[in-house]
Symmetry: C2
Amino acid sequence: MAHDAPLSPLAPSTTPEIEPLDGVRFAAGAAGIRYAGRTDVMLAVMDEGATVAGVFTKSKCPSAPVDWCRARLKGGKAKALLVNSGNANAFTGKTGAEQVKFSAKLAAAATGARENQIFLASTGVIGEPLDASKFEGVLDDLVKQARADAWQDAARAIMTTDTFPKLATRKATIGGVEVTISGMAKGAGMIAPDMATMLSFVFTDAPIAAEALQAMLSKSVQRSFNAITVDSDTSTSDTLLLFATGAAKKRGAPKIEKATDKRLLEFKQALDAVLLDLAHQVVKDGEGARKFVEVTVTGADSAKAAKKIALSIANSPLVKTAVAGEDANWGRIVMAVGKAGERADRDKLAIWFGGARVAFKGLRDPDYNEQEVSDIMKRQEIVINVDLGLGEGAATVWTCDLTKEYVAINGDYRS
Amino acid sequence: MAHDAPLSPLAPSTTPEIEPLDGVRFAAGAAGIRYAGRTDVMLAVMDEGATVAGVFTKSKCPSAPVDWCRARLKGGKAKALLVNSGNANAFTGKTGAEQVKFSAKLAAAATGARENQIFLASTGVIGEPLDASKFEGVLDDLVKQARADAWQDAARAIMTTDTFPKLATRKATIGGVEVTISGMAKGAGMIAPDMATMLSFVFTDAPIAAEALQAMLSKSVQRSFNAITVDSDTSTSDTLLLFATGAAKKRGAPKIEKATDKRLLEFKQALDAVLLDLAHQVVKDGEGARKFVEVTVTGADSAKAAKKIALSIANSPLVKTAVAGEDANWGRIVMAVGKAGERADRDKLAIWFGGARVAFKGLRDPDYNEQEVSDIMKRQEIVINVDLGLGEGAATVWTCDLTKEYVAINGDYRS
């Protein structure tokens, strides 16, 4: 079972303390979805309601809860979020959609909300019917127990093969009033017969209209959750929701209607920071990960081209096994640049590992120092820079190494 | 060193005997490029000349020999092929191009050909300058020693981390005259700091014009070498050359000018068979491979969509580790279909492992028999079928499983 896995060597040394955020309460419970002896259901209650924005997996075979949330986003209003681990409710056909509706009905009844104000996410096994009646016994209690300071409990209840709970928080001011953005995520994990799944839920007390929230979230995700990869496999369940309770309005924060509002400057930076922090934690808990890898591509024809090349490097099994082997194998970087399909000129290419240039103008760098680079590759965080020498396009993505433990976690559990 | 690796468990039980093919002679020698105690240079001499066609890596950072061959193809005529293992002459800048030209000059002098009738390929380390003067000492001897029956020696000299030589042969008739197509390949291999590299050289005695040869090769490769993947990483050096010596003309074979010539029907089938045979051998010698996997996608919107989905499945680390773990993890197949980006309807999807249907109409198959499927997954050859239920598009691709040995081969050699 996943939870017996040792703590990732890349785990942060301390879990951040998350202060209560006005307007949202959390509770975790054990509904017996799949696991024994742990919590597997998380309820977030926004008693006064919240505006909401979301981004979801681009999979053409999304899970039933993803379908549900996408449709509910149009309303732009949320009163509760119900999440379970242990069962992804994906590839469960009509039954899956029915169980989603039933879950929403139960959560609506327990919280006094309308069904279309209930947001849902599930993570775990694929292809197993989810029995939503299991929520029936726990929901009323969860609503009663929900506390503003139960962030840790909530973050733990949504874990699957994660080895540590993922939390992040930042502050910003809007119109001179301090607001908070805090969030949680679960990362890449596998539960037979499941796959990597990423869920993240972020909350703010800032009073921001759903449309503005959505615009900021869609932009911010490009440089955080959409810029990480563990194994290039996209889940059917990826869900990132951002809720704004607006409770800071009572403290004088102005209500913001447009994402272009100048007063959002600090908020946007804080949102970027929270999402990036959580995204990095997801990578650092990647299956079998022993090294955290940052790949920055500059000098590309466009930012889009730069990101495609950076992801080609970050997803390459040969690059990732080289990092695992602490081998400054820049030939494989050249290979990954070449296969990305974007314009590249090998005679203008330069490559750095940890700031040491290893290749320059299509040749091994004349000043290449084997010992220096070898020491760099022993680090726990590896920075790879590639300059294409063509244009102004730049992008950074993050990944982890590919180790035998990854294969063991994903291939050995039945043998 | 790669050659100490144990024979792939998927290796064919016998190496095919390749009969002499009129018009081409082979020799292998030890030029000391990198390896000790083995051959590392292969020369094929076509004394009367040959027409030639080729397909190459789509990498934007191709090796110097790839550049050379691409340019030479325009002439459509070949007299010799010089291949070395141990050094890929990739990412070697101007020096690389100069060494290629020097190699061609040496081979031209030794064989009495013009430089632009010399074809070249290199496989091995990236970023190390290739010292072509090493060919100088061996080329005259190789020309003298070259024999029509030295196929095995030739196939061994081009190996890097391959665990067995790859040869295939088929016969066909053109205008009632028997002709032969025989070829060799080297597969996925890694030599520090190198990457997977695929080379294949195919010869026929049929008298076929270069243009017709190119049209047939470009088509045939789509269903063979372009339909296999070991780890999704595209080499800078991939080279497939097809030479037609035309020697069968002396036995009455008609000279063929157009690929649309009806008399090529059998020849095309034989060419397809040779390329597919070699391509399968490359997969069966994939690094760390223990299982050979065939993925067929049907019912897609188009053949192109089917192939994209099939490759998404075949390249998915989570699918490949599941196969390694003998786990019929169809949830991961759904994931890989979903991430391919082509139209899919989860409620029409059906999935089979080894002929046993495991998922149907967006649900686990009601007749799913755990024991039956578990036995199927223990086989050495795994067949995965996916029907999308949308259209007539179909495609088949081949891959191997992803094992801890793959990570070890590519990540451990420096540690």
